[in-house]
């Protein structure tokens, strides 16, 4: 029982990381229906930027997070401008965007490798106080709570942005019907650029949090594991759905943890992706997704 509780905590914490990644991932998909495989790389760049700010520029945590966030965001805008926008203008297939994003991922990761090296880095100790709360047999770290809180906050924030603000309105309109949106005076390219900014900024934040949560994990490759898992998460949640992404992420995390605890840890990923396969085939709108055409 105690173990189960602790494992649930672990699962939620792991899941919230997936969710964090999935948020930005799903946003771009929701608007453009392209899968941006450069997102893991953006996450890594965000984390590394924060590292430089903390260690070399010696700024405070808040500033570092902000820097990583903005930096990653601008990177996203750049990527859209140089890589995705030309494809849109040509009306190229989503396949093309997928491959371009792979190319970008290659470039980013290797640039990062040249700039920051390959040795895993960790943020200076005490960046975030290592505090632990123990409720009976269960241990929760301050960071885990922080991450979960951030995820929920970002999720709500994103929802509010999309539902309450003028810009959010435009994003949703463009996502649903670019032509009608333009008839209503919404500038397609600017809206898309902002979407990329938002998505990548979220990626940057995710990177920093992952880096803090797992000391000694900050490296150009740190995003790699999240690429597929994040994809799985947003599929479980129904692609393009903000809340779905978070729920999907949590489902993935808890699922994996339970597999490790009660089934065979070595089949963790097989089970995870086996389920993903079944979900796709049996319930193509995702476990939590609303009705939406699956034609691409």
């Amino acid at each position: 029982m105690a173990v189960l509780l602790q494992q649930l905590v672990n699962g939620i914490s792991l899941g919230s990381v997936y969710a964090l990644f999935a948020l930005g991932f799903t946003l771009v998909f929701g608007v453009l229906e392209i899968i941006n495989l450069a997102h893991p790389a953006v996450l890594a760049v965000g984390a590394l930027l924060a590292y430089t700010l903390l260690v070399d520029a010696k700024v405070g945590l808040a500033a570092a997070v902000a820097g990583a966030c903005v930096g990653a965001g601008l990177l996203g805008v750049l990527l859209d401008a140089v890589a995705f926008r030309p494809l849109r203008l040509r009306g190229a297939s989503r396949l093309a965007s997928l491959i371009t994003s792979i190319g970008i991922a290659l470039i980013l990761v290797n640039l990062a490798q040249i700039v920051w090296g390959t040795e895993p880095l960790s943020y200076p100790p005490g960046t975030v106080p290592l505090r632990f709360f123990t409720a009976g047999p269960v241990t929760v770290s301050l960071l885990q709570c922080l991450v979960l809180a951030t995820v929920v906050a970002l999720m709500i924030g994103l929802r509010l942005l999309l539902v309450r603000t003028r810009l959010g309105l435009a994003i949703r309109a463009v996502a649903e019907n670019p032509q009608t949106a333009s008839l209503l005076g919404m500038p397609f390219d600017r809206v898309v650029a902002f979407t990329f900014f938002l998505s990548s900024a979220l990626g940057g934040v995710a990177g920093v949090l992952v880096g803090m949560l797992f000391q000694g994990s900050v490296s150009p490759f740190m995003g790699n594991t999240y690429g597929l898992k994040g994809l799985a998460a947003i599929i479980l949640g129904g692609m393009g759905d903000i809340t779905g992404a978070v729920l999907g992420g949590l489902t993935m995390g808890i699922g994996e943890v339970l597999i490790v605890q009660y089934l065979n840890s070595s089949y963790r990923d097989a089970v995870a992706f086996g389920l993903l396969f079944l979900v796709l085939v049996l319930r193509p709108t995702g476990l939590l997704g609303q009705q939406r055409s699956r034609e691409a």
Partner: protein, 279 residues
């Protein structure tokens, strides 16, 4: 003359890799012909590779029977994967097949018959130039005819407009499964060939990265006709070697090339070459 043989000696394996890459590119091309993006080919190749390797290594089977057995198994698996996937299109199909790939990878990682993470080592180097390029020639010829056949046109019709194809009386599902099966066979064959000159096969061959690489072969070369994937596979295999002098900047350039080609050569490099000739 001597220089030439030296050169070949220096790059013989690279030449074999190029041939295998071309085969893999063709295996994804056949599904693309029908407008289906499947990323399970790396996994299918791995299945073929393990099967063939186990047969020659443990059961001392002859090469060709082993290769065909591997290709056969991959074909069956591909068909089985293809059927449930028929409801999915585009990106969603891609992801489903990727998931399948991961399952294969992890299975290979944990099964004893596949030798876990280390995989199978010390596989006899039974494959050389004639095998790979013989196979490639046959498969290429197959595609040459396929593209000029009723079947090939049916696949193309499905890619162009599924509803219209149905209205022409084309059994869409049948042809999709056919495409998947052919893909499985070619991938499995390629996998079997590869393990017999790399001495080793391990689960990494089924990874996400490999799957994506195969796709880039096809797109890089161009998916207009079967010559594109062949060109793409070979070019992208040789390129990194040609770029050795760039040391750690190689992958950087690889990435740049991918972006540039998809952006400025929508129909692949082959198209560029052909246009040159026309001009």
């Amino acid at each position: 003359m001597n220089a030439v043989t030296d050169l070949y000696a220096a790059y013989s394996t690279l030449v074999l890799f190029a041939g295998v890459a071309a085969l893999l590119a063709l295996s994804i091309y056949v599904t693309l012909m029908a407008g289906q993006l499947s990323l399970g080919n790396a996994a299918l190749a791995t299945i073929g590779g393990y099967t063939a390797a186990i047969l020659t290594k443990t059961y001392h089977a002859a090469l060709w029977p082993a290769l065909l057995a591997g290709a056969g198994l991959a074909t069956v698996v591909a068909a089985l994967i293809g059927i449930p996937c028929l409801r999915l299109r585009g990106i969603y199909l891609a992801i489903a097949t990727l998931a399948f790939g991961e399952v294969v990878r992890v299975a290979a990682l944990n099964l004893t018959i596949t030798g876990g993470a280390l995989g199978l080592v010390g596989i006899a180097p039974l494959v050389s130039f004639p095998h790979v390029y013989g196979a490639l020639a046959v498969v290429a010829f197959f595609f040459y005819r396929l593209e000029r056949s009723r079947t090939g046109r049916a696949l193309a019709a499905i890619r162009e407009d599924e509803a219209a194809a149905q209205a022409m009386g084309i059994r869409v599902t049948t042809y999709k499964v056919l495409a998947f099966s052919i893909a499985g066979f070619i991938a499995g064959l390629a996998g079997g060939l590869a393990v017999h000159f790399t001495y080793l096969i391990n689960p990494a061959q089924a990874s996400f990265g490999e799957a994506v690489t195969i796709l880039t072969y096809a797109v890089f070369g161009g998916t207009g006709t079967f010559a594109g994937p062949i060109l793409g596979g070979m070019a992208l295999t040789v390129l990194p070697e040609a770029l050795r002098f760039l040391k750690e900047y190689r992958l950087l350039l690889d990435g740049a090339i991918l972006v540039l080609v998809t952006t400025y050569l929508p129909n692949g490099v082959l198209d560029l070459i052909l246009r040159r000739r026309r001009a």
